[in-house]
């Protein structure tokens, strides 16, 4: 699964640390998400969607 997390974060000029803090996860998790090495759980995906005020399918794209 691909995602637009890095682009969305850059658009808002947020650091990985800031995004991690907002989501209550580690920076390692943000890094793994952005590099496609980890797909988030459904609760975390919903949290990300809520934070960016976007539907989940606008952030996560199925292969």
């Amino acid at each position: 699964m691909n995602n637009r997390l890095k682009v969305l974060r850059a658009e808002r000029d947020w650091s990985q640390a800031h995004l991690a803090e907002q989501l209550g996860v580690s920076r390692q998790t943000i890094n793994a998400l952005e590099t496609g090495r980890y797909d988030p759980s459904l609760p975390l995906a919903f949290k990300i969607a809520k934070l960016f005020a976007l539907p989940i399918e606008a952030i996560f794209i199925s292969d």
């Binding site: 640390a17 580690s26 793994a32």
Partner: protein, 223 residues
């Protein structure tokens, strides 16, 4: 502001990976040389490394134990330089105090895993094979388990996913071969192995599996 490749921690992942690899190889070389040079001088280590007495399961256990202990201590040492550690993890700024505390706890658990694995071997080889030594090892194991549980409870979902993934892979790399060997042993096709031999092999497999899982999730080469 323009960012140069020198400033950008994501710009040279291969160089960073190779640097880490060289540092690990260097640390391994130093440990190996230290054992070769100073081992014979220390009676406890000399008895352990005596070629006539060291069975291959003990060699596997000792190697795994040294890898875990040195790896844990090396990572703990890396947390002393927050900027360098941040860069090695692919962050743009130094690691934060809470991240350092979490990493040090993980390093302590990894190093303690190695100490516990070597403990029965070192104790027995040096004449401390009694119940007292075993109780001390069991207490150490209880502390290790409590720390592991704390890490699992306080970490975020990536770490938990890695722990679950390691458990699943260990079913295939640890449980499945164990079942096949046990079946063959029961049928008299292969020689009987001791619990210590099997555990040493399982721990060696665990070390490999942990590294595979960490690499897959970007913990070794963040980008």
């Amino acid at each position: 502001m323009m960012t140069t490749s020198r400033d950008d921690p994501k710009a040279r992942p291969i160089a960073r990976f190779l640097t880490s690899l060289l540092l690990c190889a260097g640390a391994g070389g130093v440990v190996g040389a230290a054992f070769a040079i100073f081992g014979p001088e220390l009676p406890a280590i000399d008895r352990l490394l005596d070629g006539d007495r060291m069975a291959w399961p003990d060699a596997v256990a000792l190697f795994t134990a040294v890898m875990l202990t040195v790896g844990g201590l090396a990572m703990a040492a890396a947390t002393l330089n927050k900027r360098w550690l941040g860069m090695s993890l692919g962050y743009r700024d130094p690691v934060r105090p809470r991240e350092v505390t979490e990493m040090r706890l993980q390093c302590m658990v990894i190093a303690l895993s190695g100490v516990l694995l070597a403990a029965p071997l070192v104790a027995e080889t040096n004449g401390f094979g009694g119940p007292g030594a075993f109780i001390a090892i069991a207490l150490g194991f209880a502390i290790h388990s409590a720390l592991n549980w704390r890490i699992y409870r306080t970490s975020d979902e990536l770490t938990r996913a890695m722990v679950r993934e390691t458990g699943a892979m260990m079913f295939f790399f640890g449980g499945a071969p164990l079942f096949l060997y046990a079946g063959a042993e029961r049928m008299g096709l292969v020689p009987t192995l001791s619990a210590w031999t099997l555990y040493s092999l399982v721990m060696a497999a665990y070390l490999v599996v942990v590294l595979i899982v960490a690499a897959r999730r970007g913990a070794l080469t963040p980008d």
